[in-house]
Symmetry: C2
Subunit: 315 residues, 2 copies
């Protein structure tokens, strides 16, 4: 009897500091992660592609108002939502990415359309919106994206800005408020894929682009090595070219996926610089979830009896 | 007597197919490259930083209407100029990048301001323009950027689009029309830096972001390894994470700068996929200029008697 072909999916809902909001909504977060994992896994089980699985999983997280991507995105300093997303296919290193996206219900699906239907890899702002209007991509009014939680956070910060004399403390607080969602998967054909989507950092300057939409940083996939989705302080991930560095350590130094993730996230990144978390999968079905922060929302399922949902415990 | 500290600068003005326009303006291109090299080298000679040297060199190329960056940028499908740029400092991997920039005379200086003065690494479109308006950054009317050559190219392409039945051929032609400018330098303190700036591909979809502003792809700098500026088919550079891959091969496989550039540009990139060119420098003062295309406009000068300007001959 032929050996069972490995399939696997891992999702994340952001890495960073703990908060009262997370504690209070722990159950909702766990349910959201489980729904994303199950949706992606079902596609893999039925023989679907890793690309379709990571897109479907990320869409679930974008639609879920608890996560900072799609609906529930953080508001920028102007009180608006500007989203970034990227997707990559490990079989041929095709990729699609979008930045500064408004009014697109699922930025990850627009990134996928860029990958599948254009000769480009990266579209931004109005040009990306113009392109989306030509496609069967669902638009939403600006109010759809803004949740009570994010609006309160924005209002509170505005108020503090006007009253606080400790601006440096404020900046540090702002810098630590972040979130992202992402997924990596391995399908029955042995193809890996990665997808990442975010509303970016709270109170960010209008026009700020983070790591999530940067191929090689917040998202990378290569059947020869791994698929990676990153989260944490975007500027720190960009500094260290996190996702491709993991792939390079596997390819050039022969490290395993787990060891490569640990090297990049725990050794090559200085903890005091900020939060970094990654999820990964390789073509043999190994999975990895490594973070240097208080917590990383994550869920996983493989056909070798591994599955789980965690927020805090490091494993 | 102490050994003379090495200093070096290399600039490029794009890699790609040959053209009648390039032949006709060969002397002008050579003068422009020489001016950029001399400007950057003077800064290094006087003890200035590699960051200042690459910025100054790239500004000269942005101001020169012959090169596709700043004034002389290619027009997008709407007949508008949208520019990308990035800069990176090798001592601490600080970086700044801007995408979809309009009306900024020198996008590289805005990228440098993002690096020096903000907690962000990447700003795009209107948000970047808003930020520029707060700074002492020179703005220009849209007409400033549009040269006769680029306008003619745009008009010709529009006309062909309406008359040609061979749309696939057109797309291929469009894809091969590209250009970028860039510089890498090593200063007396042993710091390397890289800068890249572009008007992007001719007739590109509005909102298309290329490799030039992507840290790790079109621009990367690390004192431990090298500074790299890339050019060619942006989407192909993005696929292969060109700049960081060169650094990774040096760090993880012990390759020399020259060998790492050759491996990435000539071995790991399939010639039929498109044009790629890179310039590089390391902390010991070694320089590299490697391309798989008909030509790469380039100039270089070091204090170990190396200097030159070339467009065609591969060395």
């Amino acid at each position: 009897m032929a050996k069972k072909k490995p399939i696997a999916i891992v999702v994340h809902g952001g890495a960073g500091p703990d908060s009262e909001h997370i504690h209070k909504n722990k159950k909702g977060y766990e349910e959201g992660l489980r729904e994303a994992v199950d949706t992606g896994y079902k596609i893999l089980e039925e023989g679907g592609s890793a690309v379709d699985a990571v897109e479907a999983a990320v869409k679930k997280l974008e639609d879920n108002p608890l996560f900072n991507a799609g609906r529930g995105s953080a508001l920028n300093a102007n009180g608006e939502v500007e989203m970034d997303a990227a997707i990559m296919r490990g079989s041929d290193q095709s990729s699609g990415a979008v930045a500064l996206i408004r009014n697109i219900r699922n930025p990850i699906s627009l990134a996928k359309a860029v990958m599948m239907n254009t000769k480009y890899r990266f579209l931004g702002d109005m040009g990306a919106l113009e392109y989306a209007k030509q496609l069967d991509i669902r638009l939403e009014p600006s109010s759809y994206f803004i949740t009570e939680h994010q609006y309160d956070a924005f209002s509170k910060k505005r108020e503090e800005e006007f009253t606080s004399s400790d601006r440096i403390g404020m900046d540090q607080l702002n810098a630590r408020m972040h979130g992202t969602v992402g997924a990596v998967a391995l399908d029955q054909e042995g193809m890996v894929a990665a997808a990442t989507s975010t509303g970016g950092t709270e109170n960010k300057k209008m026009g700020r682009i983070g790591d999530s939409c940067i191929i090689g940083v917040g998202c990378y996939a290569n059947n020869k090595t791994c698929a990676i989705s990153g989260t944490g302080d975007g500027e720190l991930l960009m500094k260290n070219i996190i996702a491709y560095d993991i792939s390079a350590l596997m390819e050039y130094k022969g490290l395993t996926l787990q060891k490569a993730c640990e090297t990049v996230v725990l050794e090559r990144t200085h903890k005091q610089e900020g939060d970094v978390g990654v999820i990964g999968v390789d073509a043999a079905g190994h999975i990895a979830m490594v973070f240097n922060s208080d917590r990383m929302h994550r869920g996983w399922k493989t056909n070798s009896r591994q599955q789980g949902i965690e927020i805090y415990d490091k494993k």
